[in-house]
Every structure is written in C-alpha cells, then in structure tokens.
Point group: C2
C-alpha cells in the first residue's frame, strides 16, 4: 500500500460544484474576497514571478506560480477565444498547492470554476476599496461565462442590488439574466453599452475578443464611477479607449505583468499606477474625491489563485468533496524507488 | 453527465508501475531513448524556455514547460536533498500534456518514476552517440534512487554488461546490487570511486548533495572515457573537479540552462560546449578520437519530459493503466459555466 504522503487530495469539477453549493455561492465569494484581501495585505512576502506563457496563433497556455515561503502554488490556465465557437471553454484551469519545505503536493484542484469565483471575488474586493460609497447599480458589459459570478460577488461583497446587462450577443444577455433570476438582484437587460451604464456607479467590462477593442469610449464614461476592467488581460487585448485611461486613477495588481497584459499596455511604460495592495494596507490613496474615475485594470495574478486554492483546501477538509489521488511515488526507503517498482510486478502478488 | 472533453486521462503511480511491467522495463527504456532521440532531431522546432524555479533554503520547486506547436507539456518537479533523511523522496514529479490548439489537457501523469526512466534513457541515448565504441563496463558512482534505472538503460541501449557500483553509503550499494541481481548484468560492489572506475569505459556520477562536491578528481579520470554527469544539476551543486571539465569535450542539452545548473557553472560563461542535438543530427562532431574524454553534462530538460509523456500517452491507450479525471469544467454551452454550476445544485437532482 502507498503511504499517506503518496496521496494528493483532488477536488474534481463535480466536487467543486458540490462544495460551493454546500457552503453557498455568496458565502464562498465573500470568503474568497476576505482570503484574497488577507493575502494582498502580506503582498511583499510573496515570491512574485510573471506568468510563464506559451503563445500560439489561436491562444495561450500559462503557468502562474507563487509562494509565501511556506506554501507553493501554481495554476495552469489557457486562453483560447476561438474555443467558444467550437463548443469549448475559452478558459480552462487547474491548480496545485505544495509544501515548500518538502516539495510534496498537498492539493490538486479543478480551477475553471474556481478561477471564475476568484476573479469575481478579486473584482468585488477591489471595488470595496475603490468604488463610490453607497454604489448600488452595476453595468455589466460582456455577458459571457464570467458575468454571473461578477454580479453575485458585487452583490455579496459590495451591496450592489441592480445589474444592467449588455452584450453584443443578445442571447448571452438573455442567458445571464435567466441565470440571475431569483438571486435577489434587479436585473435589467439593455440594448447598448450606453444604456447599461445609465445610473451605474460601477462599470464592469468583461469581453473576450483577443484584439484591441473599444468596449467603452471616452464620452460614455461620466465622472465619479468605478471601472472594473476584466477583459483586457493579454498583449493585444484591451477594452477601453485610451482617453478613458488618461482620465482615470489606475489601480493594478502587479505592475510588471499589467503593463504587458492590461489596459495600460496602451500607455507609456512609466505612466503612474497604484498597486492595489498598497491601498488596502493604507500605504497609498484609493478614491480621494467624488468626481474621480477609479479604474481597476485587472489581469489576474498568481496570488489570487494561491488564496483561492488555500481556501478550497481548508473548506474541503472533512467533507466528501475530494478524493485521494495516487500521484506521488513514495517508497518506504526513499532511495529504493526501483525496489518499490520491482515489488509491484504482477507475479510478485 | 460531463462531456468527453471534461475528462483527462490520469496515469497514477500504481498505473505507471503496472504499465512499465506490462511492456517490460528494458523495452520501455529503449522506446524512451528512441522517442527522446527523435525529439532531439527536431530540436529547433520546440518552444524552449528555462525552467521556472522557486528556491527555498532547503530545496527547489520547478515548472518545466515546452511545446512543439501541436502539443504543450510541462512537468512539476521538486528537488529536496534533505528529504531522504526524513523518509521522503528527494525528487517527486508529475506532468501534463495539452492540445496547443484548444488549451485542453490530454494527459496527467505521475512523473517520479517516469523522470527516473527518462533520465536514464536520455543518459544512455547520449552515450550511444558519445561513448567509445564497444564499451561494456560502466562505473556507477552514487547508488541512490536513480542508479538501477541508469544501469538498466545502459544495458538496454548501449550494450553495457558490467556495472561497478560505489556510494559513500555502502548500504546504498548493497541495495542497488540486490535490485540488479538476475537482470543479466555483472554487478561489482566497490569500496571507492577509484576502484569503481577500474576498466570502465563509461563513468556515471549521480549523487544528491546540494553543494559543490568533488566526486571525481582529475587524477581519477583516464583518457578515452565517457562521463555521464547526472548529479550536478542545480546552482551550487556540482560533482566533478573543474580540471576534468577542462580536459573534456563537453556536450549539453540546452546551454542557457546548463551554464546555470550544470557542471559548467564552474567554467567561464563562454566556454565552448556542443549541443547534443547537433551531434545527433550530424551538425556537430561527437567523439573524434580514442583518447578524448567526452562529458555529457546533463541537467534534464523539458523536451525529455515531453517525449516521455507523449510515449506514456500512446503506451497507455487501450490498456487498463489509466483512469479518467473529471478535471475540466465543460458545459454544453461554453458561455454558460454558471448554468452548469446551477444545475449541479443537489435539490435539482
């Protein structure tokens, strides 16, 4: 029999869905926002590396590692906008935690669903610090796979009670509205981005084209709003007109990565931006006046995945929502890997 | 029910042992050497990136990605020399293949055992091109977890019939000799490195200390031999005295990585080395005379893992040596990730 260390707890897609329903999705989003915020507060402690990307003509496959000195984590994630047309997910992901001290893995988890949850939780956590006080209405522009998670996170974490949906594909808006029915949100289906933004204090953009796009033009954005820009997240893929950026106070996760992948790839490489963790820690200003446009230029960073994986490891413990994978060869005598192999020979049983 | 694409074939440790016994270990080593050689022949085609290492005081965790434009692969691997004393493996690993076109994973596999196999196969494949013709005796210095695999690979691929074992820990030598009994090799247990090298045309060094060590000194190495240096594979970890390097023709996998991690970290950064793939492809000379010392300064490269994973994917097909992991969220409508989650709610069943 393999030793206990040979097994790695594995959270499948089925388990992840079961676990999130077991806890309740709004509670999970609230908990994730708290975990991510707690890790942003100890930002300088993390080993931060830009993600390792392998680009092709049609997409990208990335590895996103980080470590807090005790726990190591990484995520595998792809981005293939053309997948949707083939009936596949644009983004699929899985992730792993390991002990820094031994290098032994301690958790393997699906992360397609978990990435959607952590992205929404990060957005809402940032908005909690940056959006105008008392914001109740959010425009949700781009109603793809991430949109419902964003809406529920802003409800749970920021107290949003109304979402105004718009997508160039009206069937996406219809689906999003249907999925959000009876969730305690007033849902308004809109026919243009302009209409979606009427009365919204928070504007979330989350579209998937891998090209420079202009989802928002300058004249559409009034003063005092908070923009949560999710979709501009790789080189050549942006959503906002440059003029909006020039009018905004810009907050980012990790500047070396955001300058390459975020909306700010449109700006000079030394354009002033503020690191979100510094706002949370009180080391930098967030929103300072009512007319200010705050912009969270979010590209997704490894620490958010790390926080999410650690949360899932804790939450799954003692539940039926994981199995044990025989993934690590762990012979009784560590120098005797060959002996372990030898003893597994069928005729030796 | 999840779609077919939601499942990722998974080869566990138990499966890997079963599969290798099913095929036969010498056949596997021969096949792996051929697969790796075939991929070295198309070396320029690969996306080559230095591994992404996360170092701590006691070890390292690394991600090793590569791609041939059709298939993407990466390995997770740790290196913790102090693990042995705690009853754990120095090196554990697992790996993944994915489709470049969609980003969807196609194989997850244990790689602790597979890394031992591919390292041995790579060593033997290099020796086939570099060692003196008619070599029959190998000195095996360092009798840890990798040693039996090395001996069997050199038997299967290079026709070695005698191995001379030495380790500072005599119990390691005893174990290695016991494991190699009745394998068709003459096994000689030696009391010193010097004794092990008597009459050997090939010298393999494979020790695990994370420090500058001198397993071989200059006066121990006669002319005409081939040195297969496995253990010097990370910054600060070398096995050979610098003077040996200066007398040798040095062959490496990927110079940018080997100059940081291999024996040649002891030399000037522009010291002449030859890339092994160029020898295999006939673009550079290998062994040119009988008195030449050839040295394969091997650190392990991502392409070797890629070759090994592709071999396992093919070999496991149609056998009982894998299971299907529910690792990828794959909703019917790819934009409806939330709907898939919603429908999984227990009360909806």
């Amino acid at each position: 029999m393999p030793s206990k260390r040979a097994y790695v707890p594995f959270v499948s897609v089925e388990h992840m869905m079961g676990l999130v329903h077991h806890i309740g999705i709004e509670q999970v989003l609230t908990d994730l926002a708290a975990e991510i915020e707690a890790d942003f507060r100890r930002w300088p402690l993390f080993d931060k590396m830009p993600r390792v990307a392998s680009h092709s003509d049609v997409g990208v496959i990335e590895l996103m590692p980080t470590s807090d000195g005790e726990t190591y984590g990484f995520k595998y994630v792809n981005g293939h906008p053309k997948n949707t047309a083939e009936g596949l997910q644009t983004v699929t992901a899985f992730g792993l935690l390991a002990e820094v001290d031994s290098g032994y893995p301690t958790l393997l988890s699906e992360m397609t669903l978990l990435t959607a949850l952590r992205t929404a939780a990060t957005s809402a956590m940032a908005a909690k610090h940056l959006a105008p006080k008392g914001a109740r209405t959010m425009a949700m522009i781009g109603n793809g796979a991430q949109s419902e998670f964003q809406c529920l996170a802003f409800k749970a974490v920021c107290g949003i009670d109304t979402v105004r949906l718009y997508d160039i594909d009206t069937s996406a808006t219809t689906r999003c509205a249907r999925n959000l029915a009876a969730k305690g949100l007033t849902v308004v289906e809109c026919r243009s981005g302009q209409e979606a933004m009427e009365g919204a204090q928070i504007i979330t953009t989350c579209t998937a084209d891998k090209q420079y796009a202009t989802i928002l033009t300058d004249n559409m954005v009034g003063s005092g709003v908070h923009i949560n820009a999710i979709g501009g997240d790789c080189p050549g893929k942006t959503e906002l007109h440059r003029d909006i950026l020039l009018r905004s106070s810009i907050f980012v996760e990790y500047p070396p990565q955001t300058r390459v992948e975020g909306e700010i790839q449109q700006l000079e490489h030394d354009h002033a931006v503020t690191e979100l963790w510094q706002v949370i820690e009180g080391k930098a200003s967030g929103r300072t006046d009512d007319r200010q446009i705050t912009l969270f230029d979010s590209v997704g960073f490894a620490i958010e995945d790390f926080s999410a994986l650690r949360y899932i490891a804790k939450a799954a413990k003692g539940t039926p929502f994981f199995t044990q994978l025989d993934m690590i060869a762990d012979p009784d005598d560590p120098r005797d890997l060959f002996g372990m192999f030898q003893r597994a020979k069928p005729e030796n049983h």
